[in-house]
């Protein structure tokens, strides 16, 4: 019997030992909890803001598919590939090929990904805000500035989403809750633009009064970046109506940028797109990248995590048998129409900068040389051109680097030149003289100044100055000036202005159907 007792004790002991209470309560390995952040340490307060900048720069706004979709709706860029979705968008098809195309869904997610990241960061800033002592005005001011930086990117996401889809939801901080997010509803395209302008008023009031390359975090958004976005939203709202009060807003905002005397045009239009032109005094908004001057190792590109293809420069690089570093997928091919336009107006510098050749007429086995002397071959697809604004000469790349075409270059988003042209357009539309801002841009492009510039001349100059850039300005200009149906084959007024809301988004939130 004694033996049984011993056994019973042993059984009980083993059972109890193997069942200690904390055994099942443990956090996941390698997944840090948000509660681990020390919000009372205000020196960490910029960290969520830096996170938003990174989200905006990598794998979202400048992701290849979004750039492709924006570009192929205009007449300056052709797909350069055989992708059914991109071709259908280029042809303004409005059927299931487009609505269920993964690319428009990806683009939607790219834009709203920044919006969601911004909302998440604002919640973090609120946590830091709770720890700012009541008398600490300096920290309070910083907090407001940081909020404004984050809200700028949120507004930029909304602004672009409305440009491509028209009526879209505006997502505020309530969308940090997935239930609220799943039930969000659309706002009209005009309301979105008004919302963006309102947001910019907060940003203008709280951001640094500095040129971006003089900001505390060099290249961060400042008061002038916000003024630029406000002006753009107003311009879209004003449309082709010269009497619209929004032209006053455009004029006011661009005047402020102009009269700040902080900006000037980078003298060399060709080098503006290359290393010497990085974050110049012309830059109002630039996405920044780096390879840290090392031929291999850590690198930050516009591609998202583990997504080489996402790299902005790579997919626009020529399909070049000379190989890396001047090599890519050969997509986003400048159209013959764009080339002819520049040729016809003798826009030599802009043409030399933007239109680079792939061999002789694209024929395989032939070679052309870029202005910097890099050899570029023809290709199987017989594509004649590649975009020089996304060209980064081998001589300027970090010595020894062979991968990541365009590594260490930044992406130009908003430029002072555009602000000047908007200023000119607003002035002309309002019956004022726009010659001064207009000719600054024109002279920089080595063209003769024009006196008494007309609206059409401003619009043509705008087309030439921004040609083959990636933000859909050409398509938007045709749209707002009512020219789209005339100029673009396949465009039907009332039907082709906006992309359909992606099928997958409607499936997940039926409010988007209305």
């Amino acid at each position: 019997m004694k033996r049984y007792k011993q056994i019973a004790v042993l059984v009980t002991a083993i059972t109890l030992l193997s069942a200690c209470s904390k055994f099942l309560d443990r956090p996941l390995e390698n997944k840090q909890q948000v509660t681990a952040i020390d919000y009372s340490n205000l020196s960490l307060m910029y960290q969520p803001v830096s996170g938003v900048y990174r989200t905006a720069a990598s794998g979202t706004f400048a992701k290849w598919i979004s750039v492709a979709i924006r570009s192929v709706r205009g007449d300056e860029i052709e797909t350069g590939n055989d992708d059914a979705g991109q071709i259908a968008i280029h042809n303004f098809q409005n059927n299931v090929t487009v609505k269920s195309y993964w690319g428009i869904n990806d683009m939607w997610i790219s834009l709203y990904g920044v919006v969601l990241a911004a909302n998440s960061a604002l919640a973090e800033l609120d946590e830091f805000g709770k720890n700012i002592p009541s008398g600490d005005a300096a920290s309070q001011k910083l907090l407001e500035q940081y909020r404004a930086e984050v809200r700028f990117f949120r507004a930029l996401g909304h602004y672009w989403a409305a440009r491509y889809w028209g009526d879209v939801p505006v997502l505020g901080m309530e969308s940090n809750d997935p239930n609220a997010l799943s039930n969000s509803t659309k706002s009209s395209v005009d309301d979105v633009r008004l919302h963006v302008m309102e947001e910019m008023d907060f940003c203008i009031a709280n951001l640094e009064d500095a040129r971006p390359n003089q900001a505390t975090h060099m290249g961060g958004v400042t008061k002038y970046t916000a003024l630029m976005l406000k002006a753009k939203a107003a311009m879209d709202l004003a449309g082709n109506n010269n009497g619209s009060p929004y032209w006053d807003v455009v004029l006011d905002c661009t005047n402020q940028i102009f009269s700040s005397n902080k900006f000037n045009l980078f003298p060399d239009y060709y080098q503006l797109w290359k290393k010497p032109g990085k974050l110049s005094n012309e830059a109002i908004l630039e996405f920044q990248y780096s390879d840290f001057g090392n031929e291999t190792g850590d690198i930050v590109t516009s591609g998202g995590a583990n997504e080489l293809w996402g790299n902005f420069f790579l997919f626009q690089g020529p399909d070049n048998t000379y190989g890396m570093p001047i090599s890519g997928s050969g997509w986003m091919v400048p159209s013959q129409k764009a080339v002819d336009f520049l040729t016809a107006r003798n826009d030599t510098l802009r043409k030399r900068t933007t239109i680079l050749l792939c061999g002789v007429n694209g024929q395989p086995g032939t070679t052309a040389f870029t202005p910097d002397g890099d050899p570029v071959s023809g290709n199987a697809g017989l594509k004649k051109y590649f975009n020089g604004k996304a060209y980064y000469p081998k001589s300027q790349m970090t010595p020894g680097r062979v991968d990541y075409y365009g590594a260490n270059n930044n992406i130009r988003v908003f430029r002072y030149a555009e602000a000047l042209l908007m200023n000119a357009e607003a002035k002309v539309r309002k019956g004022q003289n726009g010659d001064v801002p207009f000719n600054l841009v024109r002279v920089r492009a080595k063209l003769n100044p024009i006196a008494g510039v007309t609206l059409q001349q401003v619009l043509d100059e705008r087309r030439a100055e921004l040609i083959c850039e990636w933000w859909g300005e050409r398509f938007n200009d045709l749209l707002r000036t009512g020219q789209a149906a005339i100029v673009l084959p396949g465009f039907t007024t009332g039907q082709s202005e906006y992309l359909p809301i992606p099928q997958e988004q409607e499936d997940r939130n039926s409010n988007l159907k209305n």
């Binding site: 069942a19 443990r26 840090q32 996170g51 042809n91 961060g220 930050v300 396949g490």
Partner: protein, 1014 residues
Amino acid sequence: MKYFYLSVLLFMLASSAFAQTRTVRGRVQDEKGLPVPGATVTVKNSPGVGAISTETGTFTLNVPSNADSLVVTVIGYNRQAVAVADNVQISLEVAEGATLEQVVVIGYGTQRKGDLTAPITTVNTENMMKRTTSSPMDALQGSVPGVQIVGNGAPGSPPSVRVRGVGSFNNEAPLYVVDGMFVNDITFLNPADIADMSILKDASGAAIYGVRAANGVVLITTKKGKLNMKTRVTYNGYVGMQVPVNMLKMANGQQYTKFSLERRTTQDSNTVRLSSERFGGSGLNPTTSTDWYDELLKKQALITNHGIDLQGGSDKVTWSVGLNYTYQDGIQESKNSFERYNARFQLEARAFPWLKVGLTTYIVNSRTFVPNSEAFSDAYSATPLFPVYDEQNVNAFPEKFAAAAVIGREDANPVANAFYNYNRLKDFQVLPTLYAEASFWKDRLTFRSQINQLYASSLRSQYSPERNLGPGTSVTASNLRSTQERTTNYILDNLLTYRDGAGKHHWSLLLGQSTREERWRQTWVSADNVPAAEEFWYAGAQGARNANGYSEDGIRNAGLSFFTRGTYDYDNKYLLTATFRADGSSKYQTKWGYFPSVGLGWVVTGEDFMKGQHIFDFLKLRGSWGKLGNDGVNANAGYAIVSTGSANSAIFGSTADANGLYVPGYTVNRFFANVTWEVVTEWDGGIDFEVLGRRLKGSVDYYHRTTSNAAFDKPFGYTYGSVYGNWAEMVNSGIDLQLNWNDRIGDLNYSIGGNLSTLKNEVTDLGSLPSLMSGVFPYVAEFPNKIEVGQPLRYFYGYEMIGVYQTDDEIAKDPVASSYNATALSKIRPGFLKYKDQDGNGVLDNNDRVNIGNYLPKITYGFNVALDYKKFDFSIAFQGSGGNKILNLNRGKLYKASNSLNVDEAFANGFWTGPGSTNSYPSANAIADGWFKVGNSFFVENGSYLRIQNIQLGYTFNVGKESAQSTIRVFATADRPFIFTKYNGFTPEVSGWGYDMNVYPISATYSLGVRAAF
């Protein structure tokens, strides 16, 4: 090395001399004349000589010439002695009160087969050993009803196993329990080490493993010695050749040229011309015609296995040792193979009359060269107009592979891609088990405490050499990626079993407690420019380490369980099994899950009213209900997660003169839900019967499994992020049927067996989502599958192709085509596919996309015939599946093609060429157009097949002296020699969701083998 083994084998055969013995053949049967397998036949007064009767009751024994009688013993029958004769027939009588039937291994114990209330399939390990497969589960293909096994051709890679359908979004593999240890896969096991294998399919059987039983449980017991046995040595070996079967025929150079020119693009005619210029031919008639599959596949590849098994026991100690070597070369023309060394040691000692202690250790060392399966997909689309090698490709090194670029194409060279792949996985595993078992109260009460552990470590070296595929392109630097993994798991079980009875009442009670932990950790590093010699494969010390070229990750999960099982029967007639298990897991926010089950059985033939009838020799009705948990669900944080580091930090100050610097940042993912147990509720009703003098045995089961709280990543708008939670419900139901006929005609014993299972899968709830789309990269959007309430899981979603537009007139009259042509810039022409306008609105839109097939087979089956004549035995096994569809992604690649890809010969010969030519293939011209490039049923094919899985012919004879004689069986085997299918691909065995891309083809194996027991 392999030849060494071969010669040892031959030597052993040659050196066995015949001695002064007499061969006795016989058959053991019961009172009704039915065979009794597993009976021990020994020679009286020389216990060292003996044999065990086969499935058909036969045995062959070499007895000393002076022997006079044989003794036959088997559980459940009276011991019997008979005089020695050349051909003896031994009829056994049922022992008083003994049970006729075998004992089946069930969860945490054993049970008499007759008392089971659950449909538990006991695997016939003899038949399993007939198959020449390196992994044990492959050997079960087609032999267990309700268990679908989809093979994988790559050496060393496990098949995918589904028990009674798919009931989870997370995992479909069953739980494997090897001597008490939970593992996810048993490819590491040597099939010869398996003594017993039971497959628990329903709740009554599996719920005792509540925590992970939702996908079924495979219980494996490895071999053990017996008390007081003479040491037995068994050698098992075979040498075979694997040969590719059902080779996919591609369009040759001429056929390719023909259809690519029909597309009328400059690019295609350029390719043809350039091929002529560079590789032979003239103008538009190139002579090059590379059969890429032929180049990519070996004519034959070796497979071999050698194992030695020792078993023995004294009056207090039993022991066994197993050693095994397996080698399987891959049929891809590249470095791909699987090599495994197994060692097993088992020791059990009766320390006191009431206490047993034991130790089992399983050691596995394996080396796998993982192939680049993508090369198979490349071989499908690569044009035949360029050769494998090209001496003119001056820049190419180290090999002069040809580059498609010289003929203006972007195709990969499939042979080069396979050749430059080096992916070696070295794996080392130890599974020690230590236990003590105490018995009291005349063995009515036993207490067992057991600790199982699993230590595994692996090193994966992926080396891509410095190379240039030319022409003109730059050199790709060499790269090394080393990945180390380490797994340390343990399970501690404490079991108390009480077994008793009174009169006709019998009962048992099990109380158990189990504690588990699973820990896994992975570290990888990567560097460029690492030297080619393996001695220098150290990232960082050699070459240039990428700053982002390292990472660490890991998991750690804990579980705690309490369980009990009670069984009761009255007179072995009325049977009851009830189990209950409570499981706690660290992975979920709702930690505890509770899993009850009840099983009932009624042995109808035990009733008095059945005594007079002669139809049923045995009839049992069973029914069970229970709940099963699935802890294959992902561990869930249940809190907002912060991501920091350089990937979440922005660059500032990247200017003309400065490179810019990170400003530290972080991002927060706030989207999370709390997760609880995913639970399967299963009903099962079944009948077991034996009729016609026990010659026909069978069982039928109906099952109905509902998975509730099925966990998946629920996507929501605006983000690729998703919230993981318990959102869905689905149902699997069907019938499992098994029949076996056993009889003899004179000296010919034969058996015919078959099994069949049906499956109906339906999603019944998806939470708030109307549907959910997914697919396989990079065709997620183009060829989606859809999960929708009321439909089977992940059906292929797209337009239904109903023919081909034959004439312009037909297009003009068709509302869909004419409305499309009204606006589209690229018009529909004759030879284009015609899709069904499901809603009849005259426009092809989203509503016209429908279910165009499902990857889950509606039916899986297997059947076999075994013959046994004197010393010969022969068997043949078939298996197949029906009702499943395959999405032929090899053809589907045309979707993204910017120039003409190659197609299979059937496709090339089938192209529409003019009105009336065909209604099932598009024209060559049409495949370049966007109209063709939509997910549609043209790409969905019937995946049904029937395969001859195994044919074996064996011959058994006895050799050796009286004192040390041995039984030797030699056998010739053909595994998977023939397949019958309409599918236009290499193999209809496509694992995963039924997308055929990068699938490593299954090969046939022809082998010779020997089994010798001393």
